[in-house]
């Protein structure tokens, strides 16, 4: 049944284009949802999605470099390849949606590639859990249309987190409700993982 399995790159790029068109015109709040989250706006959507873009680029970089720096085998290798591909797709989606407004910020830099397998495990779990907390923390700041797009990504990050945890022998879903993180909390978590936050 996985309808998603057959989804083509073209299909999600079309969705990105639709989201992008809405962001540019500013007309993305439909009448039915007009009362939603009065604090959200297209301008704020751009800010939040650029934050997400910076994070997705960090993740894509992490997996690309890990495949060279660490000798991964078996299902861990499969994990890094599959998940790395997803992160690259998330980057492409967000860049496409943001168009000329794509300016990833804050700057998130992986200062070094993982040096060992245990280092890779720790960072993979840390980054994926942080990704879930980041998207969940921004949900209320997004207009419904952008939230719908972010929701397509956050559950995939949660699947990645669960997969990495299970592979590492940790509980894949440690709590009944995931704890969100605001921008400063995300920055703090990333700093702890050795990411340089600009």
């Amino acid at each position: 049944m996985d309808a998603q399995v057959g989804e083509t790159r073209g299909a999600w790029l079309r969705r990105a284009a639709m989201l992008g068109g809405g962001l540019m015109s500013g007309g993305i709040v439909t009448a039915a949802l007009a009362s939603f989250a009065s604090s959200s706006s297209s301008k704020q959507d751009v800010e939040v999605l650029n934050f997400a873009l910076a994070f997705e680029e960090l993740q894509a970089d992490f997996y690309a470099r890990s495949l060279h720096s660490v000798s991964l085998k078996g299902e861990w290798l499969q994990f890094a390849q599959v998940v790395g591909g997803h992160e690259r797709d998330h980057v492409a989606f967000l860049r496409h949606a943001l168009g000329s407004a794509a300016k990833p910020a804050p700057q998130l830099t992986l200062t070094r590639a993982p040096s060992s397998f245990s280092d890779f495990q720790r960072l993979a779990i840390g980054l994926e859990d942080t990704g879930v907390a980041l998207y969940n923390g921004q949900a209320g700041n997004l207009t419904p249309k952008s939230l719908a797009s972010a929701a397509e990504i956050v559950s995939v990050e949660a699947r990645h987190a669960s997969w990495a945890r299970d592979l590492a022998g940790e509980v894949p879903a440690p709590v009944a409700t995931d704890v969100p993180a605001d921008v400063s909390q995300v920055k703090a978590q990333l700093t702890q993982l050795g990411v340089q936050v600009g």
Binding site: D2, A139, P172
Partner: protein, 242 residues
């Protein structure tokens, strides 16, 4: 290594009438899968009716959207979420009670079951007297053996992710949105966990898609897991007198 294929076993586990496969085929053509899912058999009609009653609150929420306040729409969505949580919580609790599972699968059922029961309690607390009651379930034997359990759990968890994803942007209240989105990602963790235990790729695609309630209801109805609707009379808003 985990098999990257689609999930026909999960589908087969819940698709006892073949209704879901038919619905999926019809969805592309824009047909009404709920109508097409029903069969002119007594069993089918009872199952569908009970399913529609147990999970039919989203329909009410949709109807309400145009004419009533946002908070009433939110209550419809929360009751819809509660009905899905009842389904999941009862499923895991029963598998645990029957001691059908061992090892990693038993651990998954214990922990995930605990989460689903916590979600039920949270929605019941928020909804108070407006909370729907727990329907009566008959899991048709799938809680009695590991294979049936695994296939059904995969289907339930992926379905929950799709259902929450559809509803979250439709919630008006920031507090309810925060709760729904925090549960949504946990359901995705559950889904990846049980998929790996079932030998399928935990994260099959880069983007998870939402599923509208009409299709969720059709899928659940096709399982005949919901055998008795909750008592509808008790969901009326209290009358204030004097």
């Amino acid at each position: 290594m985990v098999d990257g294929g689609a999930l026909p076993p999960a589908l087969a586990a819940v698709d006892r009438d073949g209704a879901l496969a038919e619905a999926a085929a019809n969805a592309a053509a824009g047909g009404s899968e709920l109508r097409r899912a029903s069969r002119p058999t007594r069993r089918g009609l009872i199952g569908l009716g009970a399913g529609a009653a147990g999970l039919g609150f989203a329909g009410r929420a949709r109807a309400a959207a145009g004419s009533t306040t946002g908070s009433q729409q939110d209550i419809g969505i929360l009751n819809y979420a509660l009905s899905l949580e009842y389904l999941q919580a009862s499923f895991y609790s029963e598998a645990e009670r029957l001691h059908s599972l061992h090892g990693a699968l038993a651990d998954q059922a214990r922990i995930v079951g605990g989460h689903e029961r916590a979600h039920v309690s949270a929605f019941q607390k928020v909804l108070g007297s407006q909370a729907i009651k727990r329907p009566t379930f008959n899991f048709q034997g799938v809680t009695e053996d590991p294979d049936g359990f695994r296939r059904t759990a995969v289907a339930f968890e992926d379905l929950a992710v799709e259902a929450y994803k559809y509803q979250a942007p439709r919630l008006q209240s920031q507090a309810f949105l925060a709760a729904a989105i925090a549960i949504h990602s946990v359901e995705a963790r559950h889904a990846a966990w049980i998929r790996r235990l079932a030998g399928v790729l935990p994260a099959a695609t880069a983007f998870d898609q939402p599923l509208p309630p009409r299709r969720v209801e059709a899928l659940v109805a096709s399982t005949h897991f919901v055998v008795a609707a909750p008592d509808m009379a008790s969901h009326q808003a209290p009358k204030f007198t004097g």
